[in-house]
Symmetry: C2
Subunit: 358 residues, 2 copies
Amino acid sequence: MTAEVVETPIIKIIDRVRREVDDRLAAFLDAHPAPVADREVAEGYRLLREFVVGGGKRIRPTLCYWGWRGAGGDVGPEEPVITVGAALELYHAGLLVHDDVMDGSELRRGRPTIHRSLARQEDRPVGQAFGQSAAILLGALAQAWADELLSVAGSDGPGMRAAWRLFDQMRSEVICGQYLDILARACDDGGSERALTVVRYKTAKYTVERPLQIGGALAGADPALLEAYSRFGLPLGEAFQLRDDILGVFGDPSVTGKPVTDDLREGKQTVLIAQAFARARGPQRERLRAWHGDPGLDERHAAELRQVIVETGALAHVESLIDLRVDQALAALRDCAIPSQASEALTLLAGRLTHRVL
Amino acid sequence: MTAEVVETPIIKIIDRVRREVDDRLAAFLDAHPAPVADREVAEGYRLLREFVVGGGKRIRPTLCYWGWRGAGGDVGPEEPVITVGAALELYHAGLLVHDDVMDGSELRRGRPTIHRSLARQEDRPVGQAFGQSAAILLGALAQAWADELLSVAGSDGPGMRAAWRLFDQMRSEVICGQYLDILARACDDGGSERALTVVRYKTAKYTVERPLQIGGALAGADPALLEAYSRFGLPLGEAFQLRDDILGVFGDPSVTGKPVTDDLREGKQTVLIAQAFARARGPQRERLRAWHGDPGLDERHAAELRQVIVETGALAHVESLIDLRVDQALAALRDCAIPSQASEALTLLAGRLTHRVL
């Protein structure tokens, strides 16, 4: 008890890690100006920079840090784990830029998406096709940079090498998760099982399990601990996505940063929607069929869709799925042989993630 | 003279290197099945694999190999340079998949492009948007894999680290080159100078200078040799692209693998076209304005465009630019202090590249 008292409070550590990751990102971007002297290329770089440093909850670096702490990483220098966290964030920025092109999204983090900004430059109308192409390039650039940042952290020592292999696996997994997601939408295959597979690969492994394991590997975690991180991370990651799906339909736009009708209008095939379809009868079903995925969906019909989701019991069911997963995650965490401060921090983060205020 | 006689002939070495790079690529892809068990994801992986192993002239790995040999790399094991060459090829495949999405190209290497193949799957009509999104993902996957392959080659030793930094620079450069290219098309800015900047970044540095330097760095080349590779590689790379531009308008589709009207229909802003615009007068100019970049361009009007390009002297001028650059490259090569076999091979490759039969 007495030893615990002198520890830096968890909240302070979380804030400090976030700040250090931000600083590392800013320093990296400063050191990488465009290799060609061109006003328009510079503008693309500026937009990407703004997107990377100007927002984001830094969930993955935070989990990576605590995965490292949990594996006893606090005895080594913190620099590598901050750099790896920054690389995760840069890769994520690249993925989001591409995702927004695929989804045709207008807003991200409360601002116009990169492909929209580039399509609408004030002084010259360069058009939508240019915006999309430029965003594909900028997304690929951020992903390449993630990699460069990771290699700057070094590859020496078994810890870094193991972290690297997990990062490689993570990239293939999240790409496949997104592939399944766009496929489900293209084929209008809205089954609950398929939606859960997407959640597992696109979010649970990518956002929680792998960042924790990457941090752990960096500190030399043994296979048993990496396994335990998986048992904690997968249900927590699933719960996080299920919460996100709910917020995408019922959330406050000032918190989520995007219009609350976007997910319904895009026809996202979430577990919430799959449950609503599976449970809807008669006129409920007709309303879902008619308006879910309708590009012209207005606020009135969106409200009716929300009502169907509540009335069918889909919302309550998804809430129960979240609760179940949070319980599973916490049970797995209790079995983890990690320092008590790391355990406490991960518990706190589990709470934040499933209520999405991190 | 007698020592030279027992050396393996250059052509045999070039063929062997290509085969070994192909084998390395195939082995890597075999070791990377899709992490999710899904028929459609497997199909995407299959298409990407077919694209990577089923074609391509392996220009970059070949230059990388001779850059390495030129720096005395033949005394060390060949494995790293083959692996790095394979990584260059995998990255290139990823770029091409993205380029084809941006250009809306139908054919590549004589076959349907990946986004077209995915949009037109026989058993289910998944549509164009899906094809584009899936191709963005598969292109990003190939780029991530390139990186993984590179890290497998190891990062130990100053040679590998220097090669890695050059690879990082190369990625930013080619992305910026492509950015300038799509920008020129979007803004209809067809000046000869801008077109030459695109050529420099998108092709000369990416296809020739950097691969040579990466190979050289791997063998511990000193800064003077890397500089010499640059003096050889930049003009050669520019000549290569200028030849490619000519082939894109006048070439034999069975050799280039794409319809000979594609570049004219897409409105590519090449040096050849910039010269034609700058030189055209009266009705020539009207024909260029009317049909260059017309998506509905037919064979008869394409033939008239070709005639304008010849009559204005643009074709002859670009041929003279190619000759000048080949001369510059060969002069730089003569000043390179590299083994005679490497010098001979690079001379041969200069000939092949500017006539595009490698």
